[in-house]
């Protein structure tokens, strides 16, 4: 499948997803209980209905994609030639193995954000800095550990003591208190 065809297919899928989200948004607006509506006054659903309709319309435009349809009608021959030179598709396993850094980075970031309040800022940040610096290509373990330790300490002291931001100690709380 050529890149342009893939792009158009993605646009249509996005249009469909947007239509579904708009439908859900409008449905939720419809479910706001009537007791919140005041007579003669625009209620809490007025603006959401307006937004939902505009969003749905935009999604529909993306799904139908009139510009692409017109372009396709004008140049079907060029499209046919492009079809003969498809871009190679990657299977899921291939993508996972070649792009593992990308997925690992996201897992590390999301894991940090999810677990930092429970594990504690010092431990979570030390692990994040060490792992992320490694993923970015730093191989010297003493640099990784040293940087992670120093940066965690400086940031923790700077924000907790300097700016009075309450950073969770987590697993270190029982040790330090």
């Amino acid at each position: 499948m050529s890149a342009s065809v893939k792009g158009r297919r993605r646009n249509r899928l996005e249009g469909l997803a947007i239509l579904l989200v708009a439908g859900g948004y409008l449905w939720e607006a419809h479910n706001v209980p009537d007791l919140f509506q005041m007579p003669g006054v625009p209620g809490p659903t007025t603006f959401p209905y307006l937004l939902g309709i505009v969003f749905a319309f935009a999604g529909l435009w993306l799904l139908v994609s009139p510009a692409d349809l017109l372009a396709h009608r004008r140049q079907p021959a060029a499209e046919g030639r492009a079809e003969e030179r498809p871009t190679p598709a990657k299977g899921l396993w291939t993508r996972l193995t070649t792009d593992w850094h990308f997925y690992t980075m996201w897992i590390v970031v999301v894991g940090y954000l999810a677990f930092m309040p429970f594990v504690g800022f010092p431990v979570a940040t030390f692990v994040l800095l060490a792992v992320f610096t490694f993923l970015l290509g730093e191989a010297r373990w003493w640099v990784i550990v040293g940087l992670a330790l120093v940066v965690t300490t400086v940031i923790h002291l700077g924000f907790a003591k300097g700016l009075n931001v309450r950073l969770p100690l987590g697993v270190l709380e029982s040790l330090l208190k």
């Binding site: 996005e14 706001v32 603006f47 993306l62 970031v109 309040p117």
Partner: protein, 503 residues
Amino acid sequence: MFEYLLSGFAVALQPMNLLIALVGCLVGTLIGVLPGLGPTATLAMLIPLVFSMPPATALILLTSVYYGSMYGGSTTSILVNIPGESASVITCLDGNKMALQGRAGPALAIAAIGSFIAGTFAVLVLTLVGAPVAGYALHFGPAEFFALMVFGLSTVASLTGTNVVKSVITTCFGLMIATVGIDLVSGAPRYTFGNPFLQDGIDFVVVAIGMFAFTEVIVTAIEVREGTRAEIIKAERIWLSWEEFKYSVPSISRGTVFGFLVGMLPGAGATLSTFIAYNLEKRICKHPERLGTGDIRGVACPEAANNAASGASLVPLLTLGLPGGGATAVMLGALMMLDITPGPLLFQKHGAMVWALIASMYVGNALLLILNWPLVNVFARVMSVPAKYLMPIVLVISTIGVWSLSYSSVDLLLAAGAGMLGYYLRRNKYPIEPLILGLILGGRMEQAYRQALIISKGSNFIFFTKPISLTLLVSAVLFLFLPTLLAKAKQFQSARAASEGAA
């Protein structure tokens, strides 16, 4: 008036007040630099402190923090493509490209100089014609405000995307996120799905940090890993050249004027002012195609508009008691707590304090330029820190920014979600800036819309019968669709000329 201003300087230049202004500028700059720690929250935290100070000193502290945060917000926009606060979002477009081209120093320098010029202009206008000029803000009712915000959103949508439909989609999505939470008028919970943490709504900082900071970190990390990151050109010089300054002067002037005019409207705020000023600059300036590619005017104009709007927002605050945005709303609260009621009689009842405040703003502007000028060298050197060390640190600081909002793990998860969505949007050419602006303006826009409908007894025609509103709405449609239509017409004409030539 001149003798009042002189007596104001006599108060502002007292050693204690000078020291307070310096501390306020430093704190404000630091707050502006750190993504997530915005001026509104900082001003709110300072309110208990101001009780122990004389009123003039308290106001000097609050306004210097406010000004300082406007200066600081541009630093991270330029260096790491992460806006320090909402009014610096547009600076990312050209500022970061300049930094990648080895011109971080001139970018930071023009931001400081443009801010100084604009801030001084705003204070001058406040001094000379504050009260009469504020009167024009009274012509803006709910319908006009709604139309102004539609105009602002359409300018952003037209500026920041290559596809109008995708820009409209992200704008709408930002407005939809703004509807999450308890409706302030009726008390109805909307899109909370029974989750108490969503009842306060989704803070724009959470989404902005997710979509800018986390996405930027991942994108940079992938580029570093794959070796595709554009090499940051080594800076040949740190300072601004005279030619660059002369080249930027018209943009600074226009940004100052547009930023001031929009910033004076209650509710408009510095954020909307910078977007509108940048869009108008793009329509008016010579060689507009250079904006967005690392043109120094793309930093000069929004930064000037930013600071002009910050000063301008004090005009309706002091003369009419109408705050321009979150930060000025907090300042209004502080004024009320100090038993000072802003309004038309403020100059008569508390003249000495007001003139001291105005004088301190001149002093504050000068202090910020003196403080930030040597810091340009320091900040510019941040670009030489390898990305593999810098990006994880940016990630941690951004996380603290989200955490410090309400110490909620739900915010962190929302930021993670916003980051993943932001990455997808960026990869697939959906502009993020309209989403952020929609989220910031959504609440006020809905309020204006509903107020207008109450006035018109439910008729949407009010937006078309009021001349200012109609003008703004027509301009919004033109700004959004005209560039695309003109481009298509040009293509059609070229194709026709080519076929006629062939024939």
